[in-house]
């Protein structure tokens, strides 16, 4: 078929001379995940907008919740040395602190989960990698939220 006198394959080009000809063009290297006429598929939803808004709003609330939490736990009234079973039991006796901690748990977990979701979307290059990383992330998030919520609601100060 080929009329060129090129030697057997495996020998590279010499001094920049092309191994390709008009009839045998160089392979075209496609960019990964390139935008085409068919992609991205439109989804028609507001999920990304609500996600974006949630990050801003939960961030503002978390600043108050977390700094308050750190002050109470680590700085005020004797600092970290006072924290013990009795201290936690005393705090969770009040619905105010239960709600505080519950809110902090949910907001921090969802805020972190959504943040990591965008990081995975931005950095994971292959669709499969994305799928697995996000699956792992969602599992860990749901598990932590459920466990934390369970502890806050079923905490028994008289446990032996």
């Amino acid at each position: 078929m080929s009329t060129t006198e090129s030697p057997a394959s495996g020998i590279g080009p010499v001094e920049g001379a092309s191994v390709y000809t008009v009839d045998n063009p160089a392979p075209f290297i496609e960019a990964p995940r390139k935008r085409t006429k068919k992609t991205p598929k439109s989804t028609r939803g507001n999920f990304e907008m609500y996600g974006w808004l949630f990050m801003r709003l939960s961030g503002i609330v978390l600043v108050v919740l977390v700094i308050g939490h750190l002050l109470i736990q680590l700085v005020l009234d004797g600092g970290v040395s006072k924290v013990g079973f009795a201290f936690v039991a005393g705090r969770w006796a009040s619905p105010w602190w239960q709600v505080w901690d519950l809110l902090m748990l949910w907001l921090a977990m969802l805020h972190g989960c959504n943040g990591l979701r965008t990081v995975i979307n931005d950095y994971a290059e292959r669709a499969n990698t994305r799928l697995w990383l996000k699956g792992l992330l969602y599992t860990a998030t749901v598990w932590t939220i459920l466990l934390g919520t369970l502890v806050i609601f079923t905490f028994d100060p008289n446990i032996r």
Binding site: A17, I29, S42, E48, W52, N121, D122
Partner: protein, 259 residues
């Protein structure tokens, strides 16, 4: 009334290495070469030039192509910062080669010139712009009105209404912003700053009636919400468009539309 006679040596403007007043300096241009017909890898190639530092990088590229190596491949059309053909990464920053003076980018060190990132390199400094223009087409960058009849007179607009989107009319589609965006580098599905800027130009145009449609397009998974406000696009824009601000305005319009 004799016409003044210019000194021939001056008029020719040739480099005179021994001459103290010569404006010419020696500059090294380190160009990232790529030829898929020779190798799948790109290589840096150095070119030493005697050139006036008040000339532009594009002049240096012309000198290389015309005098040293005719195989150097790059795009340029108007060569005066309007057509947007010669956006490239010069010393690691996206610029137009025709608007960048050599003296402004430290000619003492080798000046690196490479293709813009995030788009497939076809040869040397030429990239495949198709995904970029596909995103541009996807935002419908043209006037849409509901009345099907031909207008009988000019569509009038107040100066304030015109000023609302003045900044984003300046876009020349050079792709300097989109190819400086880290989100676009990693995922070409993102619309990219340039498409959003051109959507902004019509969304905020009082004469246009498809703003809602364009907002809906940009509300999607790969729309404005993927912007991480890194401001690379604003820094890269050779026309000085406040790109990140335009994206933020589209975000705000999307939120105020709902609430």
């Amino acid at each position: 009334m004799a016409t003044p006679v210019l000194d021939k040596a001056d008029a020719a403007g040739q480099p005179e290495p021994g001459f103290a007043d010569s404006p010419y300096i020696t500059v090294t241009f380190r160009v990232r070469r790529f030829n898929p017909e020779v190798s799948a890898e790109s290589v840096w190639e150095d070119f030493q030039l005697e050139i006036d530092p008040k000339e532009r990088v594009l002049d240096a590229l012309h000198k290389i192509k015309w005098d040293l190596d005719g195989t150097l491949t790059f795009r340029r059309s108007c060569a005066h910062g309007i057509c947007g053909s010669d956006a490239m990464r010069i010393n690691g920053k996206n610029r137009l080669a025709c608007k960048t003076l050599i003296k402004d980018i430290n000619p003492e060190k080798p000046i690196t010139v490479e293709a813009i990132k995030g788009l497939t390199v076809l040869k040397d400094l030429v990239v495949d712009m198709e995904p970029f223009f596909q995103a541009y087409r996807d935002v419908m960058p043209f006037l849409i009105t509901k009345d099907t009849n031909e207008p009988t007179r000019e569509r009038l607009q107040s100066a304030e209404d015109r000023a609302r989107f003045d900044d984003t009319t300046k876009c020349i589609l050079c792709a300097a912003c989109t190819s400086s965006c880290p989100v676009f580098w990693n995922d070409g599905q993102y619309f990219g700053p340039a498409a959003i800027v051109n959507a902004h130009r019509f969304i905020f145009d009082s004469r246009d009636e498809a703003g809602e449609q364009r907002l809906e397009i940009l509300n999607d998974k790969d729309g404005v919400w993927r912007c991480r406000t890194t401001f690379n696009c604003t820094d890269a824009c050779p026309r000085g468009i406040e790109v990140t601000k335009a994206i933020a305005e589209v975000k705000r319009a999307l939120i105020t539309r709902r609430f």
